[in-house]
Structure formats: structure tokens, C-alpha cells
Symmetry: C2
Subunit: 326 residues, 2 copies
């Protein structure tokens, strides 16, 4: 089987386990939206990353399936709650839970998903690393919340720096990917130092991914992106692009446009293309591309430290993410 | 020391541990409200119940302090999220988190509290019953969410029965008290059958408490209750009282008033005293008092099964709750 086929095999196992896990009847108000959010498809990068991290150490990836689904529950819990906080009406082309049902249902759904997530993690009678796995899961939960809190704080703060940005995305984006790799390699009972290599791989993958995501918000092929081009600019998100422009802009024209962005917490649609040209002129896209590539390279370098390990799938996943254009 | 003094000693240990736990700085948007909600006082019945369940088996109650605070975090998480769902502006005489800050902050605060709760539970390297303790905590989390979901479902449903009511309060009220007793006795490494006795004690205590709470909503001394008399009737809550009246009422007058309550999801303030007299005439208060006493007695009978155990504090807590009048 080639890498894509292996990915699809893991994916179908994840889907099967998810279907089993969310097969709950009462109370309907809770478990209908659970099925809705969990069986809506998606690339399932996190659970698959968990399984391929197990397989990298020549252990059976099926041993990671419960933990993989636990992390997918945790990830979807953050989406359900973030969508309420951001008042997002749609996600993956479908109405969000709070808009299809209501906010109380969406709050409660997120809450119960955390519980079901924990219920899937191994007990110490099942696995010698059960404590470490639970700890990593809990740290993932806490840090993802902290990351979202920083994100909200930054919405109100005007003087955000790139340092603030990295603090936020480390927690909001990279941490849960680390959780996948670390839990997956614990399942395989990998030596501590190799678990840490996988953690760094995932960290770098996550940061590279987020910077790339910020870039694609403006430069992606509109027809494939599935959302409006420049949405981050409309919403006033403090992205890698805008903070890099802020560091480099000197012309009055650029400074005025930036001032408008920071004071009004976003730009009107009519000024998006102007801002995009300004970024291009200041080399912001190039810097973002280089920066995200640096993180992807750093991730790859971590894998090279794993001698004699089956890192082919991890490398393939990295390259697949790296080469996306939407 | 008498029982009250012992309670106060445990209480001060709980407060101290809580203060240590919530001493977190950044992100401020998350950890200022955490301090606010967790250091706002309260009777701390749940953490103290956890500690006295440990002490009942002649183990050191201090060994239960982390788990006790974990449960208090879980309990307060449910209050923060329930207050958003119910749109409650005040709790314990202070503004609720979502009204002092905003809904996103309150959602995220609740979420991170679950994480910090889990982080306080023992690892398997610390305690031989770590798995059981975590399982019980997770079941507590899941069932409390299910109980709240039933509560919300019942707001929209007109044909609620006493059976539905018990399903709801078992999960929403009794379950977390069970969690306290069960985790406390696991900390003491009590034999399985004695853990189950403590569970039943807590279950009966919880159900007795909830029926008493429904009753006090109407018959309490207004000056001590700290909230409006008849609030459940105003809000259309399907309490033990209203469902008992529904089962017994035959006169057109009572049926019309009940119809108004169920169709409009509550009564106007002008009709509260009329409804209260109606309940009194139909013996509803007497039935509620008897019913809650039956559960309190059943709780006491469970304790009698624990031969040679130090159940004095559990008994005292039961009697203290039972004799409250607001």
C-alpha cells in the first residue's frame, strides 16, 4: 500500500470507532448534536497523526484508536465552543451546532465531549503509560483553552507583537498536535527521548501549518478555500501576515491602512485587496512562506533524529500538509 | 472537637488548597474569573463530603484534598455554564461570570476548570485506585451534562412525569454527590461493597436534598433564602411539587392553574400565592416533606450498614442538611 492508502485505511478505522462512540440515544438534546458534529467528515488529521505516531515505533496502530478518537473529540469540542464565541454560523459548509440548535445545546455538547474523550483513554490496568497519556490529554485541554483566551484577549488589544502571536498559536494550534504525537508514541511505549522528538516534530508541524493557514487566508484559490478570501482581515485577526507588515511598514499609506485595521479591529471588504497588495509589496507573503517552510523543515529534521524508525507516514503527512494550496 | 469544628477545619483546608490551585496569572482573561468564581466562598459541601468519606474509613482526610478540590472545580464549572444557559445574572449574591465578563469568557472558564480538575486527580503511581477515581470523575462529568440536558429538554416538554423528574435529578444533583463519596472512600481504599454503601448514602442524600430544595423554593423564610420565593414557579421548572400536584389535582380551579403553568412555562408573580395555597390544600408540601425525609432516612440506613466505621461526620452532615430551612 502507498501512503495515501495507509492514510485512508487509518481514516476508515477512525470513522468506524467514532460511529461506535457516538451511538448514544438519550438525552436526545445532547446526543443528536454529538452525532451531527462527529460524523460530519473531515480530514481527521489528529487521530490519524496519533495512529501513525504509534506505528512509527513498529507498534500496532490499532492500539491507539481509542486515544485517537479521544483527541478528535477534544478537537471537535474546541470547535463547537469556539464557534459560539466567534458567533460563526457555518463550519465545513454546514451550520454550526449553536446555529442549528442553540447556544445552551452547543455549550453542553462541548462539555460532554470532554467527558467522553477522557472515558476513551487507557486505564493503568490497560497500559503502562496510562498516567502520561492522561496527563498529556489534560495539558492539551488546558492549553487549548489558554490559547483561545489569548486569541480573545488579542481581539481587544491593539499592541500585539509576533511574540504574543507565537504564544497564542503554540497553545491554540500546535499543542493539540503535540498531544497526538506524544500520546501515539506513548501507546507504542517509545523511549522518553524519542517521545520528545515526536513532540518537537508535531510542534514544528503545527506552527508551520498555522503560518501557512494565515497565508492561505489571502493567497489561496478562492474556489477551493471554502470560505471568503481575506476573512482574517475582515475579522481583525492578528495573524502572522499583519504583524509582519506592522514590523516592516514605513510608508504613510501602509501605516494609515494598518492603523485602520488595528483601530477598527478589521477592514471593510473594499480594502482587502489594497491590504493584500501592500503585504505583497513589503515581501510579507514571501516571509510567511519562508517562515512556515522553516518550521516544516525543522519538523523534518526532528524525524531524521529517529534512526531506524518507520517515519515514512509522518514524513508523507508533513509533505501533504506542506503542499496544500487551500 | 465537635462536628461543626471538624467541618470548619476541613473547610479551611479546602479553601487553602483552592487558593493555591487558582493562583495562576496568564492569560488574565481566563484566570481572573477563575479566582473570582473559586474564591467566592460557599459551604463547600462537596469537597468536605469527599474528605469525610475518606475519614470514615480511618484514613487521613488530607490524602483526599486534591480530589476534593477537583470535584469542587467540576461543580463550579457546571454552575458557570448553567448560569449562561439559564441567563442567570446573579449567583450567591454576586454577578455571574458571564454577566461580569461575557459569555465567551464564561464558556472558556468552565472548560479550563474541567482540565484543572483532572490535573488534581491522583496518578496510578500515587494511588492504587487512581483508575477508579478518574472513572468516577469522568462519569460525574458526563452525567451532570446529561442531567442538565434533560432539564433543558423538560423546559420545552409539557408532559413531564415524576419518573422523568427522578431521571433528571439523579444525574443533575445526586450524581456529583455520589462522586464525592465514592472518590473519598476510594482514597481510603475502602472495600468495594463499602464504597457502594457510601455511594447509596450520597445518592439518597442528593435526592432528599433536591426534593427539599424544591419545597424550600416555596415554603422557606424569604429573608434567609437569598432569592425570590416561588422562583421555580415563575421560571416554569418542573419540580417535585408541581408534578405531584399534577398527579393529584381534580378540581377545575386547580386544573386551570396547572394548565396555565404548563402551557406558558411558568406563572406570573400574581399567581404564585394562589398556586402555593393550591399545593397546600392538595397535601403537596406534606408529601414533599415526607418524600425527602424518606430519602434522608434511606441515607441514614446505609450508614448503619457500615459497622465500626467512623460515620459520625457523615451523619452530622446529613442532619445539618436535613434541618436547614432555607
Amino acid at each position: 500500500m502507498d501512503h495515501k492508502e495507509i492514510y485512508n485505511e487509518y481514516l476508515s478505522k477512525v470513522e468506524k470507532k467514532i460511529a461506535e462512540t457516538v451511538h448514544l440515544d438519550e438525552p436526545k438534546q445532547l446526543y443528536e448534536p454529538l452525532k451531527y458534529i462527529m460524523t460530519g467528515g473531515g480530514k481527521r488529521i489528529r487521530p490519524v497523526l496519533t495512529m501513525i505516531s504509534t506505528a512509527a515505533f513498529a507498534a500496532d496502530p490499532n492500539a491507539a484508536i481509542n486515544s485517537a478518537v479521544a483527541i478528535e473529540l477534544l478537537h471537535n469540542f474546541t470547535l463547537v465552543h469556539d464557534d459560539i464565541m466567534d458567533q460563526s454560523p457555518m463550519r465545513r459548509g454546514k451550520p454550526t451546532v449553536h446555529s442549528k440548535w442553540d447556544e445552551p445545546v452547543a455549550i453542553l455538547l462541548g462539555d460532554v465531549m470532554v467527558g467522553w474523550g477522557y472515558s476513551l483513554l487507557p486505564k493503568s490496568s490497560d497500559h503502562p503509560r496510562a498516567d502520561q497519556i492522561r496527563d498529556e490529554f489534560t495539558k492539551g485541554l488546558i492549553e487549548v483553552c489558554e490559547g483561545q483566551a489569548y486569541d480573545m484577549q488579542y481581539n481587544e488589544k491593539k499592541d500585539i507583537t509576533l511574540v504574543d502571536y507565537f504564544t497564542m498559536i503554540e497553545k491554540k494550534t500546535a499543542k493539540l498536535l503535540e498531544t497526538c504525537g506524544v500520546i501515539g508514541s506513548h501507546i507504542a511505549e517509545a523511549p522518553d527521548e524519542e517521545v520528545e522528538i515526536i513532540r518537537k516534530f508535531c510542534y514544528n508541524l503545527g506552527i508551520g501549518f498555522q503560518i501557512q493557514d494565515d497565508l492561505l487566508d489571502i493567497v489561496a484559490d478562492q474556489s477551493k478555500l471554502g470560505k471568503k478570501i481575506g476573512l482574517d482581515l475582515l475579522e481583525g485577526k492578528k495573524t502572522f501576515l499583519i504583524l509582519t507588515l506592522k514590523n516592516r511598514a514605513k510608508s504613510p499609506e501602509a501605516l494609515i491602512l494598518l492603523e485602520e485595521f488595528f483601530v477598527n479591529n478589521g477592514l471593510p471588504e473594499s480594502k482587502i485587496s489594497k491590504m493584500a497588495s501592500m503585504m505583497n509589496e513589503h515581501g510579507v507573503f514571501k516571509i510567511a512562506r519562508e517562515k512556515s517552510n522553516n518550521f516544516f523543515e525543522a519538523a523534518k529534521n526532528e524525524l531524521h533524529k529517529l534512526n531506524n524508525k518507520e517515519t515514512g507516514m509522518l514524513l508523507w503527512l508533513l509533505d501533504t500538509i506542506r503542499s496544500r494550496n487551500h
